[in-house]
């Protein structure tokens, strides 16, 4: 498939003020917890104090005896889930693996799993009532460590999970839920060809997406069984679908309105509280609000899989890669939901190498169920491969960017996952990084530099959009994708570009599930590409309709009408080029005999066929990968193990940056999240499976003063499948930071520490260890 890619733009590539900005900075924007309805109750969730236990009984009588406690629920109130695969979630899951996250069934499999809920007339009353729900448990042995979980005598998290991917299929249940391999070429022959082989193990810890807004919702039901849910989510259609599946309520009776969203990063591509509030609302007949506390968010919502990755990588003296072998072990928590598949497929997707082998294993433990986080799985495995590539390049005496340029994939190369690359921008991004002044900056003592490249696949999927033209010619653009990264600005700009009108006359909105066609969740870096394509398609349809209306007014054939610069123009008698010259010269002015503006066409819409609207939908197959290259300079305090980021540079192929400021924002945000994961962020469980740092004080995401300005360079190698060349941009930014930081730190400190996070106590111990080794040598 080949299409013409537009390169000359009026709006795309500019930086208008974001339409949602004023409401956000003034505090007017309504987030998940901001809706209050009269008669509303407050729900509170009772959570497990054990990492693994049988629920023997739940007694609500003491809670219900309290005045003001109106309703209760447990798994008894939900239908028995079957083996059905749930569509719409970011990670494919069986209903029986997600219903117990809403309410545990029979057993609890991790500490703080939801067991029951109460609804009462105030928040404090609901919290007090929750304390009076008596749950009797029979505590079972638990397993927290992935290696211990794979032992023959390990406690089983599920007795009906058999390792997938093994032939013949095992007959004994196991905590090893998946074990699969992908390969091409002859891996051993590849290593035999190599002059230098690096082999090392890399650890990336379990972390949290760290969105600032906790999950929150209000649900209400009416006497006809109609359910309305207002919530903070990346996907209102996903909430509608999952709530229907989990509660057994007909999907057609549920309407979901997404609030503004205070961060998601993949963590809001599933439900936690919405089905609970829905059931409590149905049982009480009153609206029910549930707002998770920060503590609950950390303990019971989507942490991110840890990964232990072994890499073996070899190259010839000239730098040619001969073999890349990766073996990735991921902790999925209590249910199979880890991103082991993308981690395994994409670990070395930046490199052209004939001999590759990648093994992925997913292990279940009595920890919270892992969930998606920005480019799910890729940061963990790319961390390992990129660190190994840096060590290999260093060992061969080749500059790390030159080494990557030598081995980088380009159009026509076939990666391990089998889909040949079309036009891609890895080499261009590497060149841009190499030419950046930060790459030439001199380093002093105790300073180090790390480079990393990364790949992310990007998603397309289904989206819808509707455009309404108001009587004054301004536009409402309606989509169903919550705006987590500036997508409303993109939607307005894409519509403005197609129609040739000022972006200020376009009002983009994210509307409820009753008000626009189906949209898959905001995620997979898909919204500007896929939902944007639906907007462009609707805008194109509207443009044709506007030409028809103008033809009717002028009583000319549609072939006589052109759409130019946001106006219909008639070119009977003169050529379009002459007309354009006239328009540019202003001689045609606004002569309605020749030119009709959007406003004029809108004002006459009643006389020419009625209001102007257009709706379109797509199943986008136009998504194309993104590549990014980061350069990180650090300084290490050798007495304390503290790391300071001196300079940080992000280079990324955006295809075409619709709104460059938001593309830069995505690059900077991803870099900061990756820096945090590299240096300080980690889940710390005690031996009972209780999270010890369930708050932002001891779960250390970076603060603004920890970071320098993150420098950005946008590379634009157009997506050959998109009329404007757009690629997804939101996820790949988090893929290169961990290896860039880890390499820089190890270079600065003279260490080989690849057990993230590189927290000060660990780094200081490594520095002292390295010093002792040197003295011994």
């Amino acid at each position: 498939m080949s299409i013409n890619i537009q390169t000359d733009f009026k709006t795309v590539g500019t930086r208008p003020i974001r339409p949602d900005g004023p409401d956000k900075v003034t505090g007017r924007a309504k987030y998940g917890a901001d809706l209050n309805l009269s008669g509303m109750l407050y729900g509170h969730i009772v959570r497990s104090p054990h990492a693994h236990a049988v629920i023997k009984s739940i007694d609500f009588s003491a809670a219900l005896a309290m005045p003001g406690v109106v309703a209760t629920m447990s798994a008894e109130d939900l239908p028995e889930p079957g083996d059905r695969i749930l569509p719409g979630a970011e990670i494919e899951m069986k209903l029986k693996d997600i219903s117990p996250i809403i309410m545990a069934r029979g057993k609890v499999l991790f500490h703080s799993q939801a067991v029951a809920a109460v609804a009462a007339t105030s928040e404090s009353l609901a919290a007090e009532a929750a304390k009076r729900v008596v749950v009797e448990y029979e505590v079972l042995p638990h397993v927290l460590d992935v290696h211990a979980a794979m032992a023959d005598d390990a406690p089983l998290v599920h007795d009906d999970v058999f390792t997938q991917g093994i032939d013949p299929a095992p007959t004994r249940p196991s905590n090893l839920s998946a074990d699969f391999e992908m390969a091409k070429g002859d891996i051993e022959a590849g290593f035999a060809e190599a002059d230098l082989v690096i082999e090392r193990t890399y650890n990336v810890p379990m972390c949290h997406q760290g969105y600032i807004e906790p999950h929150a919702c209000v649900a209400r039901s009416d006497e006809n069984g109609k359910i309305e849910i207002w919530c903070c989510t990346q996907g209102p259609f996903m909430v509608r679908n999952m709530t229907a599946e989990i509660t057994g309520i007909d999907l057609g009776k549920i309407k979901v309105t997404a609030s503004e969203i205070g961060g998601g990063f993949g963590g809001k591509t599933t439900v936690y509280v919405e089905p609970v509030a829905t059931i409590l609302a149905c049982k009480s007949g009153r609206p029910v609000k549930i707002v998770m506390s920060r503590d609950e968010v950390f303990r019971a919502s989507g942490p991110v899989s840890s990964a232990e990755t072994q890499v073996k990588i070899g190259a010839k003296k000239d730098g040619t890669l001969t073999a890349i072998k990766t073996d990735i072990l991921m902790d999925s928590g209590a249910f199979s939901s880890s991103p082991i598949l993308p981690a395994t497929m994409f670990a070395a997707a930046c490199y052209r190498c004939d001999n590759m082998h990648s093994r992925g294993r997913e292990v279940l433990t009595n920890k919270p169920k892992a969930w998606a986080y920005r480019a799910p799985g890729a940061p963990q495995s790319i961390m390992a491969v990129e660190c190994a590539v840096n060590e290999l390049a260093q060992g061969l005496g080749i500059d790390p960017i030159d080494f990557r340029l030598l081995n980088a994939v380009e159009e026509g190369d076939v990666p391990l996952f089998g889909v040949p690359f079309q036009s891609i921008g890895l080499k261009q991004s590497l060149e841009a990084a190499k030419n950046h002044p930060n790459y030439q900056a001199a380093l002093e003592q105790n300073q180090g530099r790390g480079v990393a490249a990364a790949f992310w696949i990007n998603a397309g999927l289904q989206s819808s959009a509707t455009i309404h033209v108001a009587e004054d010619g301004s536009l409402n653009v309606l989509t169903g994708n919550p705006d987590i990264g500036g997508s409303r600005a993109s939607m307005a700009m894409l519509a403005a570009e197609v129609l040739g009108i000022p972006v200020e006359t376009v009002r983009p909105s994210v509307v409820d599930t009753d008000s626009v066609g189906y949209c898959d969740t905001t995620g997979g870096s898909r919204t500007t590409l896929a939902t944007g394509s639906a907007v462009m398609k609707a805008a194109g349809m509207l443009r044709e309709e506007l030409k028809h209306r103008a033809a009717a007014i002028w009583n000319v054939d549609i072939k006589e009408v052109e759409w130019y610069d946001g106006m219909a123009v008639v070119h009977s008698g003169i050529g379009i080029d002459e007309l354009r010259d006239e328009l540019r010269a202003g001689t045609a002015g606004r002569n309605p005999e020749k030119v009709l503006t959007m406003a004029e066409l809108a004002a006459q819409a009643g006389a020419t066929g009625g209001p102007l609207t257009a709706s379109a939908s797509v199943h986008a197959h136009s998504a194309q990968p993104s590549f990014a290259v980061n350069i990180c300079d650090v300084q290490v305090d050798r007495d304390t193990g503290k790391v300071d980021i001196l300079r940080y540079t992000c280079v990324q192929d955006a295809g075409k940056a619709v709104h460059p400021a938001y593309v830069e924002g995505q690059m900077q945000g991803g870099a900061v999240q990756g820096i945090g994961w590299a240096l300080n962020e980690e889940y710390l469980f005690n031996d009972q499976g209780v999270l010890e740092n369930a708050g932002f004080l001891d779960y250390r995401i970076p603060v603004a003063s920890d970071l320098p300005m993150i420098d950005t360079v946008i590379v634009e190698v157009p997506n050959p499948l998109h009329p404007f060349g757009v690629r997804g941009v939101g996820e790949v930014p988090i893929c290169p930071p961990m290896p860039a930081v880890a390499t820089a730190v190890n270079r600065a400190a003279g260490t080989q520490l690849y057990d993230l996070p590189l927290s000060p106590p660990k780094l200081l111990a490594a520095i002292e260890g390295a010093g002792a080794d040197n003295e011994a040598a």
Binding site: D639, T640, L679, D698, R700, S759, P760
Partner: protein, 289 residues
Amino acid sequence: MPLLQYEAPTSLAQARQALAGRSDAKILAGGTDLLVQMRLGLRDPALVVDIKHVPELMEITLGEQGLRLGAAVPGAVVTDHPEIGQLYPGFVEALGLIGSSQIQGRCSAGGNLCNASPAADCVPALIANRATCNIMGPDGERTVAVEAFNTGPASNCLAADEILVSIDLPRPGPRSSDAYLRFIPRTEMDIAVAGAAVALSLDEAGVCIDARVAIGAVAPTALLVPAAADALIGGTLDEDSLNRASAAASEAAAPITDKRGTVEYRKKVVGVLVRRAAGVAKARIEATS
């Protein structure tokens, strides 16, 4: 449902009356610890006595003898004061490290002390400055050295009906200064993994004639480390005396391993901080004389 009672006395006498016979009361100053603890369910008082309207707790008196700082004076008032920072720069920088700008408008040195966190930033700095606590109880006033005020994590020497009214910091002699340094993995908004305060007096030749060294977050309470001070006194803050002071602080430290750091790490880093804080205090003296 339990009810929470709130009192806002406007005199010490009223405050004493509000607390009399109540073992279920908590004193509220800025609330930056208490309200958070209540919200987390760690404390559940039946009565909260807000002492911000008691004049003695909100006053700053700076005179010949030194500073009398009302226990509830907000951090921002102290850090904005034109003279306090010149006399006790280390104490003021320690107080200024607590929380964010918003927290600084509420938090107080007295509250930081009474909360009795082993990691409280301003406590080592108070100890290094020989600060004492003025305590009012049913039987009148008593005075306690800051290093003896806290008795363990989250526990202090106050009886249920006693109030910390003010803290006295003696006026430093000539050629004296102090410094406080803490280690946190980030740059702000964090809790000390280890902290060290050093107060020094030098003679005209640069010989250390007086020193106080206090360390935080490395024991159940902030510690005065006389051995570290002894290592500095009589020397010129040369490499040898700094090494000995650093080693003495590491030796005195009795930390725990927890999510913020290990025993080995804290012992090592507190010595590093003592060395660096002594250097800062010395530089301050040299810069002003």
